[in-house]
Amino acid sequence: MSDVFAEAPAQSAKPTVFFDGVSSRKRQVTLTLGDALEICEEGGTPVRWAYAEIRRADSPPGILRLAAMSAPPLARLEIRDGVLAADVTARCMHLDEHRTTRRGVAKIVGWSVAAAVSIVCVVLFGVPLAADRLAPLVPKPVERRIGDAAEVQMKTIFGRSVCEDPAGKAAFTKLVNRLRDAAGLDDTMTAGVLPTSVPNAFALPGGKVFVLKGLFDKAESPDELAGILAHELGHLKHHDNMRGLIYNGGTSFLIGLLFGDVTGSSAVIFASRSLVEASYSREAETGADTFAIEIMHKLGRSPKPAAELMFRITGKEGGSGLATIFASHPLTEDRLARMTKEDRPPSGPPLLTDKEWQALKGICGSGKM
């Protein structure tokens, strides 16, 4: 071979390889360490890299892989010889300038903690405040639209028909109207009875209250039912649905942002969301209870029977450990205790006559359920 190879044996044991960043051809090169790094391939024009521009690229152990800022971005020089590598390293003063340093990591940690703290503060204080302020400002038509959607869903679950026995309906309307007037709600609110044996009642956005027929079956006096209805009216009065919607939407978005998952499907998000939302919901329920107590007092009736009805339905709930932190309602026995404290002998007229009460219990027709 020609004498150009004279120097080759020194480097051939651990060859230096150059990829010019234009093609994948593996070029065996020799290096000249002058005032700049000169990369010479047999018969090719030498490539010069200024030391200040050389940066380290990721490489497996035993190889020093270099890139240069002025070269094509993918041009790589791979030095396998330890001595040569040390020699080159010593001359490149900015070799590791582009890497994440300890300070860089500290910066990431610091700023993410700051971001997390501010997100947590917004979840704990900002979002409830925003929900409280914004909910009453939501235009009625918007609220009603959301309520319509929820109503269709409820009716899909509980059956399409509404209980409309005339005498029962008259009694129901009388009861609702008395409560409504006492609550100071306008007459855009509607109430209905759905024919299902589940004992429950709920309020929907846009002033809709639904009582499920099961509740009539369990109720033993008009006061029991009235207290529950008053509680639902409390939800309407406080815009709890819209508040909950804004609050849940806001928290799940922010917590999702924190953990990097905007759909909020993973376990952490689920747990922290449930925890935060449950406590918010318990607060709303307690608020609605307070409202119900006020209304019943205003009408001269006791709120206690309603709590007794709840207790009859749910039984004692406490002692179930962890579940109570995640519960959306206060414990029934606590609610019963509270309402018992507010118990007063009736000072107003009964809300319904016996005849009306019997008619109300038969609002869905008899024996159909």
Binding site: G21, V22, R145, G319
Partner: protein, 384 residues
């Protein structure tokens, strides 16, 4: 060019077919374990924001220690790109979520639960994200100073994935191999290394023949659930092997002799760790609760009382710390076994044929943005 000058044209004898080249993985296991342990801890103190840096470091580790024909690959993606991709994806996804919510209300007004199909839209988005995230990763993959890249359309891919997905649902999963083949063909045919174009030669029928009995056994596994890891490991190993066998880039082809039982150990180790960690967590919770009871004198059934805010704080704090510690440990276990070990196990079975076809490839292709990665992160469909 130089070669041409020395070798007289025409005198070159036909070379015998070269033996296949191995793919080497030289990554050090304890180094990787340290990397993910440190990363998981930083992820914890940064509430997850560090994930962009950790994911980048993991990829850099795996890529640089993977050598084909003696030359190690390189991953040039950076965490900042992922962060920006995530923020951009967020900016796009938030209005979409809002629109989804509003349209959902209109649908629900018309018919109960009519908005459920809207979820399909998010599925499509997820598929789009998978395609675009793959494009990002490929354009950051460098071998011999030339990058891989991808063309093709994320939406066209999402459409294919949806239609095939529908077929899979209709055939109760039997069409799965053909779906995999069709999607892989689309991805590989739009994959390039410099000026070489990729292709995928695996077909659904081959995959089906290798795994149909797994499909038959899957109802049994629902009853006898210890079988699930075995079946899943079998399925994954067969899928990997079939996939590797089908890959072509230019004249280069891959093959693999991954044994069908290659992943048994990995999955059982993960399950073992998981069980162990759950047991430790359980013991920790019981012990911690008892300790709180001892120290505060609150009876056991009142410790969890939500309304006694002050008293439940120590328990909640203990629970949260324990939970995060377990999550951290599970994270490390999953990354070590299911990313690093699986990677090493698969690579040691891979053979590369006719690598000479990639000896002098001109570079081309542009860098793709990390938007797809952002979507994948936002929608929780991220892979590696």
């Amino acid at each position: 060019m130089n070669n041409m000058q020395w070798v007289p044209i025409g005198s070159e004898p036909l070379p015998p077919p070269l033996p296949p080249t191995q793919v080497e993985f030289t990554g050090n296991r304890s180094e990787f374990r340290k990397l993910v342990t440190k990363g998981a801890m930083l992820e914890l103190v940064t509430f997850g924001f560090y994930r962009f840096w950790l994911v980048t470091d993991i990829r850099r580790h795996l890529w640089t220690h993977t050598a084909v024909d003696g030359d190690a690959a390189e991953y040039t993606g950076r965490a900042k790109e992922l962060l920006i991709g995530f923020l951009v994806a967020l900016a796009i996804l938030v209005p979409i979520y809002l629109a989804y919510f509003l349209i959902g209300i209109e649908f629900e007004r018309w018919q109960g639960f009519a908005s459920l199909p809207l979820f399909i839209g998010f599925y499509a988005f997820g598929q789009f994200a998978i395609f675009r995230a793959r494009r990002y990763r490929l354009t950051r993959t460098i071998w011999r100073g030339v990058r891989f890249w991808m063309d093709g359309s994320g939406w066209a891919y999402a459409l294919r994935a949806m239609l095939w997905g529908l077929l899979v649902v209709l055939t109760l999963g039997l069409a799965l191999p053909w779906r995999a083949a069709a999607l892989e063909r689309y991805k590989m045919q739009h994959t390039h290394y410099g000026e070489l174009s990729g292709d995928f030669e695996g077909d659904g029928w081959t995959f089906f023949k290798r795994g149909w009995w797994l499909w038959l056994l899957s109802p049994v596994a629902l009853v006898i659930f210890p079988l699930v890891p075995f079946l899943y490991a079998e399925f994954r190993a067969r899928e990997w092997r079939w996939w590797l066998d089908g890959i072509r880039i230019g004249g280069v082809s891959l093959s693999s002799n991954l044994p069908h039982d290659a992943f048994y150990g990995l999955y059982w180790k993960v399950i073992g760790w998981w069980t162990l960690l759950s047991a430790v967590f359980g013991a920790y919770m019981i012990g911690g609760t008892l300790l709180v009871v001892q120290l505060t004198g609150v009876p056991v059934d009142r410790v969890f009382e939500p309304d006694d805010g002050a008293k439940s704080i120590p328990v909640v704090a203990m629970m949260v710390i324990g939970y995060f510690a377990v999550a951290l440990a599970v994270n490390i276990v999953m990354r070590v076994y299911l990313q690093r070990d699986l990677w090493a196990k698969v690579l040691e079975t891979v053979e590369v044929h006719d690598i000479a076809a990639a000896a002098d490839v001109r570079g081309s292709g542009q860098l793709a943005s990390a938007l797809g990665e952002g979507f994948a992160d936002g929608l929780d469909v991220a892979g590696f």
